[in-house]
Symmetry: C2
C-alpha cells in the first residue's frame, strides 16, 4: 500500500483525537509503517524524528529490542488475568520496584492517565468521607491539564479543552501559578495560594499539581520551591496532595520523578505515559499506608474503594514497565540526559536572536521555545508543524509554543537536526 | 517462587480493584503463573476454569496462539505512534471492519470502557452545543453500570459503586427497567420511560443503555422490545442514543452485537473488553457521519472534539482486535455459541429444584442464577466464590447472583464441571 491509499481510507473511517478533522483537507495524515529509535517511517520511506516522543510516551526509543523481548516472553506465559482476587508475578515485581523508587507503600493500577487522575481524586474524596467529612471541592493550579474524562477535565484549567463542557463538570477551584521559573515568582504565587487555602480548606479534599512543568498547559515551568511551598500549605491546612507525574515522571525533568527536585512526598502520585516506555496503555496511582488504612476495615463497614477497570494491571503492559525499569538500571539514562539537556540548552540560545521568539525555557529533557503572542487564529504553531514534517521532524507545537521532548536515546546528530529544523521553521513563520 | 511468597508480597504492595483488602486476611489472593484456553494455573499447579472470562474480557481463551502471533508481528513493526496527525495500517483496517460489521461510519479510539463512555457522553453533549443547544442532563437506566470515572459513574446507577461519591457526580436522571425478560414488562417500563422523556427531553443530550443485559447490575435482563422501544422514544423526543456494548458486544448475547436483536441502530456504540479478546486495554466509540459532521468545520469555529488519550489507537491492542475479528470470521463462533448456550440452559434447569434459588435466566452466553434474598451482610455469594476456588472454578458472584460468562472456546466437559461446581456451591450455602 502507498501513503495515499491509507490516508484516504483513514479519513473515511477514523476520527482522530484532539483534531479538527477538516484540517486534514490541507494537512496530510501520515501513515506510519514502522519505527526504530527516534525515527518514524511512512509507507513511502519518508522518515521523521519523533521529537515529541509520540505524545510524551516513548522515552526509550521505538521498537526497543529489550522491551520487545520482554513483552513477547509475557505473551507466551500469561497475557491477562482478572486482578480482583488474583495477582501475577509481574504486578508484584513492578509494584515493589515503584514503591522502592518513590517511598510510597501501595500501588493501585489503571489504564491511562485520565483514569489514574480519576482514581486519585476519588480516593482523596473517599478518604475524607471514611473519616466522617464530606469535602466536595477539588483544588488545582491555573493552566493545569490532567486529562479528558469528566473528573480529570474538571480539575484541569486549559480552556481549549474545558470550556465547551463547563455545564457538565464538577466543582473545582484554582490557584495562581508563578509567572516564570524564578524563586521570587514562586513565593509570590504561594502567597496568593495561601489565601485560597485559608478560605476553602475545610471543603477541599485534595490539591492536584503537575510538578515543575505544566506540559499541555503550553510547557509553563515553575521553580521546585513552588512545589515545596504547596506541600507545606497542604500540611498546614490538612489537605491531601496529588502529584500528577504522568508527563513528567520517569526521568523527563532530569530526576527520576519531578517531586524529588522539591524534596517532597505527595500523598498520591499518578504515573502513566513513560511508565511502559511508549508501548502500552497503563497507569498507576501510588499512595501511602495511611491512606490505604482509611479504607481497610471489615467489609460490612462499606468503606472499600470499589473502583475497577477490566484490564487492571494488565500483564503485557506491566512486562513493558518492568523492562523500562530494567533499562533505567542498566543504562546510564539520567546522567546521559543531563549532558544532552545541557547540549540542547546551549544550542537553543540562538533562538533568542529570532525576533519572533519571546522566551526559551528548559527543565531536564523538556525544552520550550515560546514565540511572540501571535493571534491564535493565525495558527503560527501549525505552520511550524508543517515545516517540520516537510523536513523530517515531528514537532507538535502547543499554540505558539514549540517544544522538544524527544526519546532519551536521541543522539547528538539527531538533536542537531531537530533543533535546526525547528529554528528554520520558526524563522520562516516570522518572515 | 511459591504461591505463599507471591501472595504475601502482593498484599504488601498492591491495592486491588473492587476489593475490600481486609477480606484477604481470610481469602487467599491467588497468583496466576500461566493460562491456556479456559484454564488459569497458579504457582503450585492448581488449575481454575475462568468461568467469568477474567471480568468478561477473554472471549477466545487465554494464550491463543493466533492472537499471540499477530501481536508479536506488530511488536516487530510498530509498537506505537501518536494518533493525532498520524495513522497506521492496523487502525485503518480495524475501523473499516468495525464500521462494516455495525453500519456505523466513524471510529473514535480510547483505552478502556469508562473512557469510551466518557467520550460518548461528551460527544453527545458537545453535538447539541455545536447545534446551539445546551442540554445538561444525561439519561440512563435504573440499575445501570457504565464504569468508574466520574462521568461514567454519574450515568450509572448501582449504589454500591456510586453512593459514596454522590456529592461529586454530575446530573443524571434514570428511567425504570423491566422487571423481567417478558414483552409485557418491557411495555410497562416503556410507558414509565415516556413520562421521563416527555418531562425532560429538552434538557437531555443522550440516553445511555446496556442493551439486553445489565451485567454489573446483577445480570438483570430485558426483552429486545425494550431496546427497540427506547430507540423509538429517542427518535420521537430527539435525543441521542448510546449503546454501551462494552460487556455484551462481540457475540456474548448470541448475536455479534446486542442491538442486532432489537433491530435498531443507536447513535453511538461503545465497545471494549472482548474487542481485544482479553489481551489488552482498548476501546472504541462508533458513531455516524451525521454526528461527525456537526464537529467538522473550519478550525476557527472551535467546534472540534479535542478529547485525547496518549495511547489512542495503540497498534498492539489493535493487532489483537484485528486478530479477534479474524477468528470470528474463520471459526464458527456464533453458531457454536448457540449450541453451547442451549446446552447450558438445559443443564441448569436443575437449579430450579434448589430451595435457595429464586430465578435462572439466560441471554446467549450469559447465564445467571439468582439466589433468594439473603441479607447482603451474609455474603452468600462470597461463600459460593470460595467453594468454586476450592473446586477449580473461578466464579465471581455479584451479590446473591452467580453467573457464567466463560470464554466461548469452553468445551462440554468444562461446561459440565463449571455448572456442577456452581450447583454444589449454591446447594451448600443453602444448607
Amino acid at each position: 500500500m502507498k501513503n495515499q491509499e491509507i490516508m484516504q481510507k483513514d479519513l473515511k473511517f477514523n476520527w482522530h483525537p484532539c483534531t479538527q478533522m477538516k484540517d486534514h483537507e490541507f494537512l496530510p495524515i501520515i501513515p506510519i509503517k514502522k519505527a526504530k529509535g527516534v525515527w518514524l517511517e511512512d509507507f513511502e520511506g519518508n522518515k521523521y524524528i519523533d521529537a515529541i516522543s509520540s505524545w510524551w510516551v516513548n522515552n526509550l526509543g521505538h521498537s526497543n529490542e529489550y522491551i520487545n523481548k520482554k513483552i513477547n516472553e509475557q505473551l507466551n506465559t500469561l497475557e491477562h488475568v482478572i486482578f480482583a482476587g488474583f495477582t501475577h508475578e509481574g504486578a508484584v515485581r513492578l509494584s515493589e520496584r515503584l514503591c522502592n523508587l518513590t517511598g510510597f507503600d501501595k500501588v493501585f493500577y489503571a489504564d491511562n492517565g485520565s483514569s489514574a487522575v480519576e482514581v486519585a481524586i476519588k480516593m482523596a474524596f473517599h478518604y475524607w468521607k471514611n473519616k466522617g467529612e464530606v469535602r466536595e471541592l477539588f483544588l488545582s493550579l491555573k493552566n493545569s491539564y490532567h486529562g479528558e474524562t469528566i473528573g480529570a477535565l474538571s480539575v484541569g484549567d486549559v480552556g481549549l479543552y474545558k470550556d465547551t463542557y463547563k455545564e457538565i463538570l464538577i466543582k473545582n477551584i484554582t490557584i495562581p501559578i508563578p509567572a516564570d521559573q524564578s524563586e521570587k515568582e514562586a513565593e509570590k504565587a504561594l502567597k496568593e495560594a495561601e489565601k485560597v487555602f485559608e478560605k476553602h480548606h475545610k471543603n477541599i479534599s485534595s490539591l492536584i499539581i503537575e510538578p515543575l512543568v505544566q506540559c499541555a498547559g503550553y510547557m509553563k515551568m515553575h521553580s521546585p520551591l513552588f512545589v515545596k511551598g504547596l506541600r507545606e500549605l497542604c500540611n498546614k491546612y490538612n489537605i491531601l496532595m496529588i502529584a500528577d507525574e504522568i508527563a513528567v515522571g520517569f526521568g523527563r525533568t532530569g530526576t527520576m520523578f519531578a517531586c524529588e527536585q522539591a524534596g517532597i512526598k505527595p500523598d498520591f502520585m499518578c504515573l502513566s505515559k513513560g511508565l511502559t516506555g511508549g508501548y502500552l496503555p497503563l497507569s498507576v496511582v501510588l499512595t501511602t499506608d495511611e491512606i490505604y488504612m482509611a479504607f481497610y476495615c471489615d467489609y460490612e463497614e462499606l468503606k472499600a474503594f470499589l473502583h475497577s477497570h477490566s484490564y487492571t494491571a494488565n500483564p503485557l503492559g506491566i512486562a513493558a514497565a518492568n523492562a523500562v525499569l530494567d533499562l533505567f538500571e542498566r543504562d546510564n539514562i539520567l546522567e546521559n540526559n543531563r549532558q544532552k539537556s545541557k547540549y540542547i540548552w546551549d544550542k537553543i540560545q540562538k533562538f533568542n536572536d529570532l525576533p519572533n521568539v519571546k522566551e526559551i525555557r528548559q527543565t531536564g529533557m523538556i525544552t520550550a521555545i515560546e514565540m511572540i503572542d501571535y493571534p491564535w487564529q493565525e495558527r503560527k504553531g501549525l505552520k511550524v508543524y508543517e515545516y517540520g514534517l516537510k523536513n523530517g521532524v515531528l514537532l507538535r507545537p502547543l499554540g505558539n509554543v514549540i517544544y522538544f521532548m524527544p526519546p532519551f536515546i536521541i543522539n547528538y546528530d539527531e538533536i542537531d537536526q531537530m533543533i535546526d529544523v525547528a529554528y528554520e521553521g520558526i524563522k520562516k513563520v516570522g518572515e
